[in-house]
Structures are given as C-alpha cells and as structure tokens.
C-alpha cells in the first residue's frame, strides 16, 4: 500500500496545473517536529497560493508563531478545481503544505477573511478536509475553527461555521490565544471540554465566540485588538520566498498602519485606526535584513496611502541610494493625488520604471466632498501634468460608481475628467515633441457599503442602475487612447449582501456551496444564477439587504463588534456627507473625536516630524 504522500507526489501533483501551489519547501518556510510542540496551528487562506502568499498578515503570523518553540504553524490554500476533482475522486483529504498532513491532524485552523467572495471557499476547504461545516456539528475531536481579518468586522454570515473570531490585529492576540488553548489541553486533556475552552477564549479581549455570545454574553461588546507601537511589534525578517510567481512578489516593508484621511466609504480607513508609523531607522534596518534574507529585487513600501508617511522622501532616497547598485527597485503601491507623489515616483524610476495610478474616486467636486476624498480637480490636473512632463505617457485613474447622492452628472464628471487629463497629455506630448500618444486607463468599481464606515447605513445602487452607469461610461469613453474597465455589478451586489447581512446568510452560503459555488471572485467560476437559487432556497431576499437603507435606530448585525470608532462619529460623518462637509485628517490638526485613541488606549504615532495631531487637539 502506497502512502498518500507518495501517491500525491508521484501520481497526482504531476497532473495538475502549477503543482508548486501545493508542495511547500520554499526558502525560509518552516518545518517543525510535530512531537516537540504543544499545539499545531494551520493558517488557511481561502484562495489560491499565489493570492494568499501575497498577504502580509500571513507572513507576520506564520513566522511569529513558528518562532515560538512550543507551537507550529503550517499553511493551506484553496486547491484549484483540477486538484479538487482528483482529491474528491480518490477520497484524499486536503493537506497542509509543510507536513502534507490532513486538516484534521491540527489543533486549530485559522481562516483569514480578506474579501466576502471567498466565503464559499472556506466551506469547500473544510469539506475537503473532512471537517463538518457547522460549529454545532463538530465535537472536541475536530480542530478549533478560527477566523480573522477585515471581514470579521461583520462576522454573522459566518457565525454558524466559525468557533472563534479574532477582531483586530492578529499578532496582538494569537500567542495569548494559543497559550490559553495549550493550558486547556494540559488541564483537561486534548480534545476535551470544548465548551469550557470556548468560554475561556470568549473572556479574552478581541475574541468573539458566536455560539456562546447569544446565550451568555449578549451585552458584551467585542473590542478590537490593536498594536500600540509598530516599532516594538513583531515583523518577520526572514519571510518565505516562493518558487512560483505570486501576485505581490517582492519585499513588503510596512511603513505604517491605519489611515485617517477619512474617506467615508473606506473600511480600512476606519477599522485600522489610529495611524501608527514605524520609525525610519527601524524600516531601514528591516529593509537591510529583508534584502539579505530574501534575495528579492524589489521593495514595496506598503501601507494605505503611502505618500502620507511622514518621512517618505527621506526614506525613499535612502533606500534608493542603498540598493541602486544592486538593481533593487522600490514600488509605491498607493499614492496620494498631488505633485509630491509624482516627485516620489520619479525618484523611484532611478532603478525601475513603474506605472502611475491615482484614485480621484468621484467625477465631481460635489461628490468628492460627499465621500470626503479631499482631492480637487486642480490637484488631479496638476498631477497629470507633472507626470506627463516627467515622461509618463500612461496614467491609471480609479473611480467608484454608485456612491451616495450620485447622479448621472457625477458619472458624466468621470468621463469629463478623463478627457481633460487626456487633453493635457496630448498638449504636453506635442510640446515635448513626443510621437507617442498618451494613454489613460479608467478603472471603475462599484460602491459596496461596508460595516463600521459612515456609509454602513447606505443602500447600494441596484444591479440595473450600476450597469446603466457602467454602460453610460462605456459609450462616453470610446476614445482609443482611453481604456475603460469596470467590475461585474452582480459580484459587487453579492459583496454588499455579505458585507451588510447577518446570520440569515449562513443558510444562503451553505446552499450556494452545495450548488457548487466556489472561487466566486474568479470570473470563470462566478455563477450568479446559482447564488439566486441559493437565496431562494434559504428564503432570503438579497435585495432587502443590499438595496435598502438603514437609519440611526436600525440594529446592525455587527453592533457587538467594536473597532473603537464610535457609532455616533460614524453617523455624524454620514450627516456631514449629505451636507457636503469635509472632515480633515487628524494627523495634521484637529481631532474629530472618532473615539479610537481614548477608547483603545492607543495614540496616533507619527515618527518622523514634529507637530501633527494629538487626540483631543481642538484647534
């Protein structure tokens, strides 16, 4: 009898596309002796390897846990459909990358919730691991199923499947959680007294145990965990270097967390508050070690709105000077709309050419004020001009449609803005005697109302209206120098349903998975009809969830989840939106009393210059 490992390696993996997705063994990956550790944790990413390995959270947690001698963490990703078919046919359970052990061998499995449309993959992975899907169907002998990440902000659609949710920044709580589980095993024995364990876990700050919450802790609010000082926090300096190409295949240097620009649609801008920067010296030392330990030829300066880092000019110059000779380039994934950003991008070109992308988000000043995107048309034209003069001929612009109060005038505004930028490009190219035509890419996504944002009460436009707006732009942007792309409206609709809906969605999710839904964010797999069937089966009206507004008295499904930003503040922001009043960034002046700093006992931390906001600052 051949071992499963042997069959997998010799018979199955040679037949599937990209077998490297499943074999592990990468440089800096960690294989531990199972007998020498107290707990075995499996990090599960409900998408393909190349997507999951690009995720900074995985890199942090994987190495943080593996640096502890008493614990181990391994990885598993969603298998592509070709491998899934063989696993099901041969009755082989889904296995981890490091030890090729089945999911059921682990003590805990932690799923990361990065986007709503990965939920069906979670169910599919549990099923492939031969683990019953629902919490109540799993006794002590099964691994504890944990989930965290931004979508845990509205955990209820998954509450029937997940034992414990982690709210907030995982590195702050994971070791505490593992200590509790290990102690429980010592006292009660392995796989015993699951309810007692859940009860103890529920008493930890930041952990949400849905099965107990309804019965015992109804009034309890689950407050997010937050890293207070990024300089002191753990950061992996020997991250895994994949063999195969992944989506973000480079060093990720995390400059800061949080963003207080205050865009009212943006969940990240609300749930990762306050802004906490890492010092320039710490970053430079991390970069040095990461370069040495990975061999990557590119460093990405990672954060929300990278040009907002207080020491960005100095850091960029210093990294370029240090690594130019080795042809190690920088990338700035997220730039503010101003000419300073173009200067930065120009610096970066010294080593490697990059594209330029800016996000004005809305087409008119009125609507940009509504969403608090503090960017003016002059800003954008200035940026475009600076970029064209600096030699770029291709600019990418991001917009969103379906925003609150939007009219067709705002949609027309997107087209006009694009043409204005294009015309400047043509003029400048003529002036510079370049033969090359400028090119503008206009990418349009659809607004999805998200929990814990000022727009959480907002209805999403109907699918039909979103499509009408998309088609309007398609007609308007027919110029061959403009390339226009937009997101599938039906997918955005489902995102809104899962972003705003509650526990009634468990049944929908289960039905959709049974219909065969998986990899929903992959166009070739997305099947809206199956979803509609699932809603009908579960007796849930998705339009009621996505397309109907709430008001201040509406009890939201995520009322018990607390990211420190008060509901009062969110509502005030919503009111200001309708009054077209903007809110300034608290980093540079007035504190708007969102509640985060006093509520979580944490401070806004700007490392590279004096001044800036301090909480409670009323000037």
């Amino acid at each position: 009898m051949e071992s499963i490992e042997h069959i997998l390696e010799n018979e199955i993996l040679p037949k599937v596309t990209k077998p490297l997705r499943y074999v592990g063994n990468e440089h800096n990956s960690v294989k531990k002796n199972w007998e020498e550790v107290k707990l075995r944790f499996l990090f599960a990413f409900p998408d393909l390897y190349e997507v999951g390995m690009s995720h900074l959270g995985l890199r942090i947690l994987y190495h943080l846990v593996n640096e502890k001698s008493e614990y181990l963490m391994e990885r598993v990703f969603a298998p592509w459909t070709d491998l899934e078919a063989i696993l099901r046919q041969e009755n082989i359970p889904l296995f981890s990358l490091e030890s090729w052990r089945p999911l059921t061998d682990f003590d805990c499995i932690g799923f990361t919730l990065q986007y709503e449309m990965s939920y069906t993959n979670i169910l599919n992975m549990l099923d492939l691991g031969k683990i019953p899907l629902k919490t109540k169907e799993r006794d002590e002998t099964y691994p504890l199923i944990i989930a965290g990440g931004p979508c845990a902000g509205n955990p209820e659609p998954l509450a029937e499947f997940i034992d414990v949710f982690v709210i907030g920044e995982g590195e702050e709580v994971i070791l505490e959680m593992l200590d509790v589980i290990a102690r429980h095993h010592e006292v009660f024995g392995k796989n015993k007294e699951k309810n007692k364990l859940l009860d103890t876990l529920a008493s930890l700050e930041g952990l949400y145990v849905p099965s107990l919450h309804q019965i015992m802790h109804k009034e309890k609010r689950i407050v997010k965990r937050v890293v207070k000082d990024l300089d002191e926090s753990y950061f992996p300096l020997k991250p895994i270097v994949p063999y195969m190409e992944i989506v973000h295949d480079r060093i990720m240097l995390e400059l800061f967390r949080g963003c207080t620009r205050g865009c009212r649609f943006c969940q990240a801008g609300m749930i990762y508050r306050p802004v906490r920067e890492r010092s320039g010296d710490v970053l430079k030392e991390q970069a040095r070690q990461l370069v040495k330990n990975t061999g990557y030829n590119e460093i990405s300066l990672t954060s929300l709105s990278t040009s907002d880092y207080s020491g960005i000019a100095e850091l960029t110059k210093s990294l370029l000077d240090a690594y130019e000779k080795q042809q190690i380039g920088l990338s700035l994934p997220s730039l503010r709309v101003d000419s300073f950003s173009v200067d930065l991008a120009q610096q970066v070109q010294r080593v490697r050419k990059t594209g330029l992308t800016f996000a004005p988000e809305a087409g008119t000043q009125r609507l940009r004020d509504v969403i608090n995107k503090n960017v003016t048309e002059e800003n954008l034209l200035e940026v475009a001009e600076a970029a064209f003069y600096a030699g770029w001929t291709h600019l990418k612009l991001y917009f969103m449609i379906g925003l609150p109060t939007e009219t067709m005038e705002d949609i027309e505004g997107i087209a006009e803005l694009a043409y204005r930028v294009l015309r400047r490009g043509i003029e400048i190219n003529k002036e510079k005697k370049r033969s090359k035509q400028p090119k503008i890419t206009v990418s349009v996504s659809s607004f999805v109302p998200k929990a814990h944002t000022p727009f959480q009460w907002q209805a999403q436009d109907s699918i039909e209206l979103l499509m009408e707006k998309q088609q309007y732009l398609k007609k308007r942007l027919k110029d061959k120098r403009i390339s226009y792309n937009y997101h599938e409206a039906k997918l955005s609709f489902l995102e809104a349903v899962f972003a705003r809906g509650g526990s009634e969605l468990s049944d929908v999710l289960l039905a959709a998975w049974k219909e065969g839904c998986k990899f929903d964010s992959w166009t070739e797999h997305f099947c809206f009809d199956k979803w509609l069937k699932a809603f009908a089966e579960a007796g849930v009206d998705p339009m009621k969830i996505a397309n109907e507004p709430g008001d201040i008295d509406t009890v939201l499904p995520w009322e018990h989840i607390d990211y420190g930003v008060s509901k009062r503040y969110l509502w005030e922001e919503r009111e200001k939106a309708y009054g077209m009043k903007t809110t300034s960034d608290c980093r540079y002046g007035k504190c708007w009393d969102c509640g985060v700093c006093p509520g979580l006992d944490v401070k806004l931390s700007i490392k590279n210059k004096k001044g800036g906001g301090e909480c409670g600052n009323q000037n």
Partner: protein, 229 residues
C-alpha cells in the same frame, strides 16, 4: 568574471518551471551576496544564461548556467555561499570559471541524457517492450505532434534520438536515452514515450519518473561535458 555552474534539481525541486528556476536562481545569487553584473538598457537584468530548459516534473543531476560577476571571487567561496543560499530542491554540483566563452551554453550543448522509469501494464510481455524499442531504432521516421503558437504540427524526431536502450526492472521499463537538445532541435522524453505507446498498450498509465543524467557536447565525435570545455 564569468562562472559556469553545474547544478541539480532534486525531487523537491522538480516542479519548478524554467521561469520559476530563473527567478529562484537570481534570488539565491542575491542572498549569496554575489556581485551580479547587469545588462544595460531600460530595465537592467542580471547576466545569467541557462542551458536547455528542463521540463516540469523532471529531476536532474546535470544542469548548467553561466553567470557574470562584477568582481573576482574564489570558486570555493562562491560554491560555499551559493550552497548555503539555494532553497531545497536545487544543489550546486560544480563551479568553474569560464575564461574564453566562444558560444552560449545553448549553442554548445547538443545532447541530453535521460533515465526514464515507466510503470508497465500488467499483461505486457518483456518481448513486446523490446520489440517496440527495436522498432523505434529501426524506423526511418517518427512523427510526433507538437503544439505551438500556430496550432499543432507533425515533427519527425527520429534524427534526434541518438541512443535508446531499455531493460525491465520489477514491472517497470528502465529507459536510457540520449536525445537531441540545444539550438539545433529538441526531443522531449515524453515524445519518445508517446512514440513507444503507439505500438500497443505497454504502460500502466501511472506517471513515469524522468531524470536527466546530464547535458553533453558532441563535437567531431568527441563527447564532453560543459565543465570540460
């Protein structure tokens, strides 16, 4: 200085595609702190050239690449540093300095030697196997289907099969084959197996194990390894 590295791909590294290998090698060179020389131009890249690509799933103990360095370093030092920096699945087997490089590796190398182990169909008799191999040797032409950018086409691989021998070991066929590789043409082991299969149901359908023993240069009847020239 230009150095030639002989390396192997083990069981753990056999799923790396050629592109994966190129990326992985560059990163290993960087981790090893080798002072890479870069090409000029818009986006400079390290001056590394590989011998013929190895198919995904195939192990090897005889692969080669040339890499140019900005500074002189001792061969021992390069070997030590690179061995340390390579990930599981890739091993350094030898390094030498290339003083006069007349031709690229792909232009030099023209033979790839393989050991192939194929699980046999239960009912098949040894004679049938030997007969099939003999047929292959005697054939004046052997057409296989290749798919490329412009659809599929028929290619005669007969002239590219320099040597083929087989023996039976424990319900497996052990094939030793010297096949053409390099800029003049390439014959893949899978194509040879497909040609054998056409002569009757010989193989069980289980995955064959293909191992490249080495790459060689045949010049005027003389066989050399890339380390010897």
């Amino acid at each position: 200085m230009v150095i030639r590295i002989k390396y192997g791909k083990t069981q753990e590294g056999r799923f790396l595609s050629h592109l994966d290998l190129m990326r992985t090698m560059e990163r290993a060179f960087r981790r090893a702190g080798l002072p890479l020389a870069f090409s000029e131009g818009f986006n400079p890249h390290p001056k590394v050239s590989f011998a013929s690509a190895l198919a995904v799933g195939v192990t090897s103990e005889g692969e080669y690449l040339d890499v140019e360095l900005q500074e002189e370093i001792s061969i021992e030092e390069i070997k030590a540093r690179l061995s340390e920096a390579l990930p599981a699945g890739l091993v350094v087997l030898g390094i030498k300095e290339v003083r006069e490089r007349k031709k690229s590796l792909t232009a030099l190398i023209n033979i790839a030697r393989y050991n192939i182990r194929v699980p046999l169909e239960d009912s098949v008799k040894d004679e049938e196997i030997f007969e099939a191999i003999e047929q292959l040797r005697q054939a004046s032409e052997i057409y296989v289907t290749r798919s490329g950018k412009r659809g599929t086409r028929q290619v005669d691989i007969k002239q590219g099969i320099f040597r083929i021998e087989g023996k039976i070991d424990n319900s497996n066929l052990e094939l030793h084959a010297d096949l053409q590789t390099g800029s003049e043409g390439n014959v893949k082991p899978a194509e040879v197996l497909a040609a054998l299969e056409r002569q009757g149901r010989l193989f069980s359908g289980k995955q064959p194990r293909i191992h490249r023993v080495g790459l060689f240069i045949v010049e005027r009847g003389e066989v050399m390894t890339p380390m010897e020239c």
